[in-house]
């Protein structure tokens, strides 16, 4: 079931001669329960796209629905049905209120019935390991914990769709890893759909089911990391270092597309293949017949390689 199904999103800012188009007819399709990553450089249009989808920003043109609501006509219903975590945890977290007071305030803003408020707060605090900070002022907790509080706020109301705008920005590696684990865990436990932007390509590679790469307001690529590899890979590499005689190396060169480099008494054989997984066994079997293998390395196309390739 599609949670987001939008086509032809266009958005521009400014007037007349200063008018600048930020989104150039973008299509977005996200299924329920997906962790969908939006990648792009600064100014690529990521936040604008999130705000259009959340109903905060009125697009110039767009067709389709978010959570079944028409993006042009029912933005108020979309706004009441989605959650957002802003790039900085301090947005929506009041420093002079305790963790529980912060959540209590937002629970009422989100219209959670009085009887269910305490239960909802206890649930998100447990899920995000905030219980031990419940009576601590928000100004006294770490940036990572504040970010968890911001996510807890967004999850209080159990919306099916949560937008995360760079949820781990400004966090150290350990805190960022923790947040990523929480996101995956929450998706697995509650089936929440997460639409997240990130600058960190490794982050998208690690937790996103699918990613979309945008550049200058245009979609450059969309799919799972594996699909993007298949689409954009112009080959992967298997490197074998070993001891062979020169004649056998010649035979290998006739059998395979291989680059041969002599390193002292050893040879480095760089095999260019379309798919490492498909070819590696056959290549190793073949090479073993002609000499002694000392080391094997593989190089696969990373999301980072794909990102650089499509945003040049």
């Amino acid at each position: 079931m599609a949670v987001i199904n939008l086509v032809g999103i266009r958005k521009s800012y400014g007037k007349r001669k200063k008018r600048m188009e930020v989104l150039h007819g973008i299509d977005v399709h996200v299924e329920k329960g997906e962790i969908f990553g939006l990648l792009g450089r600064n100014g690529a249009g990521k936040t604008t796209l999130i705000k259009v989808m959340a109903g905060l920003l009125i697009p110039d043109v767009a067709k389709g629905e978010v959570l079944g609501y028409d993006v042009m006509k029912e933005a108020n219903k979309i706004r009441a049905s989605v959650s957002l975590v802003a790039p900085t945890a301090d947005v929506g977290v009041d420093p002079v209120l305790t963790v529980r007071q912060n959540l209590l305030f937002w629970a009422t803003v989100y219209g959670i019935p009085s009887k269910e408020v305490d239960k909802s707060i206890d649930e998100v605090m447990e899920a995000l390991e905030l219980a031990k900070f419940e009576d601590t002022w928000a100004m006294e907790i770490s940036a990572g914990t504040r970010q968890r509080l911001a996510i807890a706020r967004a999850l209080l109301v159990k919306h099916d769709l949560v937008f995360l705008d760079e949820p781990t920005v400004k966090l150290d590696m350990e805190a960022a890893k923790m947040i990523r684990n929480f996101i995956v865990d929450l998706r697995n436990r509650f089936g929440i759909t997460f639409f997240m932007t990130t600058h960190l390509i490794e982050e998208a590679e690690e937790i996103c089911d699918r990613v979309m790469i945008i550049d200058n307001g245009k979609v450059k690529a969309v799919g799972s990391v594996e699909e993007l590899r298949n689409t954009f890979a112009d080959g992967e590499e298997i490197t074998i270092i070993g001891k062979f005689n020169a004649l056998d190396v010649k035979r290998l060169e006739e059998m395979w597309k291989v680059e041969i480099i002599r390193v002292g008494e050893e040879f480095q054989l760089n095999f260019h293949v379309e798919d490492v997984d498909l070819r590696i066994s056959a290549i190793i079997e073949s090479v073993k017949k002609y000499g002694k293998i000392m080391d094997i390395k593989t190089k696969r196309l990373t999301l980072n390689d794909i990102f650089k390739k499509v945003t040049v």
Binding site: T88, V91, G111
Partner: protein, 289 residues
Amino acid sequence: MNDFVNELRAVWAFSKREMVIWASYRVNIWTWIIDVFINTSIFFLISLLVGHHLMGAYGTNYVSFVVIGLSIYYISYTNLGDPFPRVARIYWNGTMDLYMLSPLSYFTPVIGIMFRSVIDDYPRVGLAFLFGWFFFGASFTFRVPLYVILGVVLIGLSTFGIGMISASSFYLLNFKRGTEPVSFILQDVVIALVGGYYYPVNVLPQYLQILASFIPHTYALDLFRRALLPGASLTQPVLLLQYVLNFSPIVVDTLALALLSAVLFPLGFYLYYLGIQKARKEGTLTRWQ
């Protein structure tokens, strides 16, 4: 009905939050007590110079007269002057987007956050009366209570309407830095000059009295002074409109306030709605983009 109850609950949640934040700044309470005392004592000292002779239809002494002026000033200062900085605050701290991503109406966050101003400023009214009466010889009575209650409601609505017009300028006219001109021109220039906080409006030149006829403060001050000051006349006209309409001055005040409220209150909310819609088109709801 359920939605309305939720909106009220949200206003209460904002209020409670603002109260906690306000209470965390403990020095606040002392600064405003001193502020009210100093203001009242300044006018007491001025009263030693001017005596009784300027009060005319409003009877009693200058301190009593000016305590009413100060009270309306405090209410007006809050309702008229605070919506703009409150909206500015939620723009600059980035929470406007988050408030919009909720079932609340556009207006609930502003109304809720305004409670901070109300708890901060409204008690000053009582304090001004208390200081005036206890230290500086002011005296009060309580005639025509229905009109007083109506007057409080109507001056509250009309000034909040102007406050919302001022707040709408944040988005509608893009006043994001420096002094906001709507409340400055109205509060600090026009109303301060012709509203009648510190002197009766009939001492002004006629063209300024005409200008004063379009300001709710003029009628509220006249109404409260007639109703609360001992010896004030309930029949002698002071304001231009009271000479034109053949009703009791207090009825004229109430009608004028009702008319101004009926125009300014919905106008303020409508302009604020337009401002939010404009910001949603331009992507300027919050600083964070």
